[in-house]
C-alpha cells in the first residue's frame, strides 16, 4: 500500500507531496560544552527502527507546514501514536 500522510492543515494527502525531515531526535543539543560525539550523534546517527517511529515531515507540495507524526516503517503506514495500531 502506498503512503498517505495526515497534514495538520490539509488532512490526508498522497505521501509524494511531502518531504521527509528525519527521525525526531528531540531538541537540538545545547551548544555549550557540546562534544563532537554528541554533535555527530544528533546530526548523523539514526535508530533505523523496524517498527513505529516518530518523525518529521514537510508538506512541500502543499501548505508548507512542518509537523511530526508516527509511522510504522514495516508497513509504511501512519499510526495513532507510538504503539502499533495502524490508523484507520
Amino acid at each position: 500500500m502506498s503512503l498517505t500522510l495526515t497534514c495538520p492543515i490539509c488532512g490526508e494527502r498522497n505521501g509524494y507531496e511531502f518531504r521527509y525531515g528525519g527521525e525526531d531526535k528531540g531538541p537540538r543539543p545545547d551548544r555549550a560544552r557540546l562534544t563532537p560525539e554528541q554533535w555527530c550523534d544528533y546530526v548523523h546517527m539514526n535508530d533505523c527502527v523496524a517498527g513505529v517511529q516518530k518523525e518529521w515531515w514537510f508538506h512541500r507540495d502543499g501548505c508548507g507546514a512542518w509537523f511530526t507524526t508516527h509511522r510504522d516503517t514495516r508497513t509504511g503506514l501512519e499510526t495513532d501514536g507510538p504503539d502499533n495500531a495502524a490508523r484507520t
Partner: protein, 406 residues
C-alpha cells in the same frame, strides 16, 4: 537427458560454537565467509540467514558493475572488484556471466560534465579506462538515443567507461555459497539472529531462534537491516537511512542497447539483459521504510524517463517490477569497521544501491580484517569515526539528507 540434479551446497548441522559467525546470507556475508576459508584457513564459520540466501539486495539488484567512482579511496576497491569477476568465475567453477558491455553516463548540462571531468581524472590516475564523450559519440555508442533538442533535458555529453557492465547477481550468490560450503562453511538458512552477547567489551555469543552460538567474532552483514540490528542488539546507532529502491524489466526486445545507460538528471538507468528485456532502475523512494512495496508512481516515472532518452521504447510493456532496501549513508560511502568499541564485532554495511559491484572484494578484505584483527589499509577510510571527525567522503559533492530533492 539430464543428470540427477545435485544440491550446490550441503545442509549443515547447527553447532553450538563457531570460530566466526556472519549475520546475513547476502553477497557480503557469503563473500566474507568464502575468503575467510580460502585465504585464512578459518573454515569453522557459520553464515546465519533469516530467510534464504539472496533474499535481500543480493537477489534484487540490477547487477551493474563499474569502477568510475569519484574519490581516490573508492576507485581502487572497485577496480579490484572488476578484475575479480573473471578470476572468480574460474575459481568457483560457476558462470557469473560477466557481460563487459561498458557504461555510458549521460550529462545534460555543463555542471554534470564538469563533475564527470573529475571522475574521469580520478579513474585515469588509477589506471581505470574512462573518458568524456560528446553527444555524437553518445549516439554512436547507443544509436537509439535521442540527442536532438526534443527531450526536456537534451544530451550535452557523457562519460564512457568500457571496463564495466553487468554480472548475473544470483550466480554470484550461488557460486560463493557453493565455494564457501565446499571449504567447510555452514550456511544456515531460515535462521534469525536475535542478539549478540558480549562480556567485558568482547563478543562471546550470538543468539538465534535455533539456540545460542558461542563465538569470538561476528560480522554484521545484514544489508538493509544492519543498522536496525546494530541499534537493537548493541545500542550502536549508525548514520544510515534505509530507503526502498525499485526496479523493473520490460518485455524482451530485439537487441538495441549494447551498454548500460544512465542519467542522474532523469534519475534513470537501464540496460538490455541477455534475454532482451530492458532492465531499469530508478531513484529511491524518499522516506525510510522496510517494506519492499512497489508503486505506480515509479512505473510512470520510469516510462517517462526511459522514453525521453530512448523514444523507440514507447509502447513497450513492463513485465515485472520489484523493490529492495538501500541503506544510505550521508556521504554515499559504506561503513566497514570492527573491533571498535566491542572486540570481535565487525560491521560491513551502508552499501546503499551500489554494494553488488564491490561485494567480492569487500569480502576479501573484511575476511582479512576478521582473521588478523587489524583493519587493512584499503578499508581504513571507511571507518565509522569519519563522521565524528568530519572526514566525510566526497562521493557526492555535498552532504545528503535523504529526500525527494536529491
Amino acid at each position: 537427458m539430464f543428470g540427477k540434479s545435485k544440491r550446490l551446497w550441503p545442509r549443515a548441522p547447527m553447532k553450538t560454537a563457531y570460530d566466526a559467525v556472519i549475520i546475513g546470507g547476502g553477497l557480503h556475508g557469503l563473500a566474507t565467509a568464502y575468503f575467510l576459508a580460502r585465504d585464512h584457513g578459518i573454515t569453522d564459520v557459520a553464515v546465519i540467514e533469516k530467510n534464504y540466501i539472496g533474499f535481500g539486495g543480493a537477489g534484487r539488484n540490477t547487477a551493474i558493475v563499474r569502477a568510475n567512482q569519484r574519490t581516490q579511496e573508492n576507485v581502487p576497491l572497485y577496480k579490484e572488484a572488476l578484475d575479480l569477476w573473471p578470476v572468480l568465475t574460474k575459481e568457483l567453477d560457476f558462470n557469473l556471466m560477466f557481460y563487459n558491455c561498458g557504461n555510458l553516463n549521460l550529462a545534460h548540462g555543463e555542471a554534470t560534465l564538469k563533475a564527470m571531468r573529475l571522475n574521469v581524472a580520478t579513474a585515469q590516475f588509477h589506471g581505470v579506462k574512462s573518458q568524456l564523450v560528446d553527444p555524437k559519440e553518445c549516439k554512436e555508442l547507443v544509436p537509439a538515443l535521442d540527442i536532438s533538442d526534443r527531450p526536456r533535458y537534451p544530451v550535452f555529453g557523457g562519460m564512457y567507461h568500457p571496463p564495466g557492465g553487468i554480472v548475473r547477481h544470483d550466480a554470484v550468490v550461488w557460486g560463493l555459497a557453493k565455494g564457501a560450503a565446499k571449504r567447510g562453511v555452514h550456511i544456515h538458512q531460515g535462521t534469525e539472529v536475535a542478539g549478540i552477547g558480549t562480556s567485558q567489551g568482547k563478543v562471546v555469543s550470538v543468539e538465534t531462534d535455533r539456540g545460542k552460538i558461542h563465538t569470538p567474532r561476528v560480522l554484521n552483514a545484514a544489508g538493509g537491516y544492519a543498522a536496525a540490528l546494530s541499534h537493537a542488539f548493541l545500542r550502536q546507532r549508525l548514520p544510515i537511512s534505509v530507503l526502498t529502491i525499485q526496479a523493473m524489466v520490460t518485455q524482451p526486445l530485439k537487441p538495441l542497447l549494447d551498454h548500460v545507460v544512465s542519467s542522474g538528471t532523469y534519475h534513470c538507468y537501464g540496460n538490455q539483459t541477455l534475454k532482451g528485456e530492458i532492465a531499469t532502475g530508478a531513484h529511491m523512494d524518499p522516506w525510510p521504510n522496510y517494506t519492499t512495496d512497489t508503486t505506480a508512481y515509479y512505473i510512470k516515472h520510469q516510462a517517462e524517463a526511459l522514453t525521453e532518452m530512448l523514444p523507440c521504447l514507447k509502447g513497450v510493456k513492463f513485465m515485472r517490477h520489484w523493490a529492495g532496501l538501500a541503506d544510505m549513508t550521508p556521504d554515499m560511502a559504506p561503513i566497514m569497521d570492527g573491533n571498535d568499541p566491542i572486540e570481535g564485532y565487525y560491521v560491513d554495511c551502508g552499501w546503499g544501491y551500489f554494494g553488488f559491484k564491490s561485494s567480492t572484494v569487500t569480502g576479501k578484505y573484511m575476511a582479512q580484517f576478521m582473521a588478523k584483527g587489524e583493519c587493512p589499509d584499503i578499508l581504513k577510510p571507511f571507518q565509522l569515526k569519519r563522521f565524528q571527525e568530519h572526514r566525510l567522503m566526497g562521493e557526492t559533492a555535498a552532504l545528503v539528507n535523504y529526500s525527494p530533492d536529491n
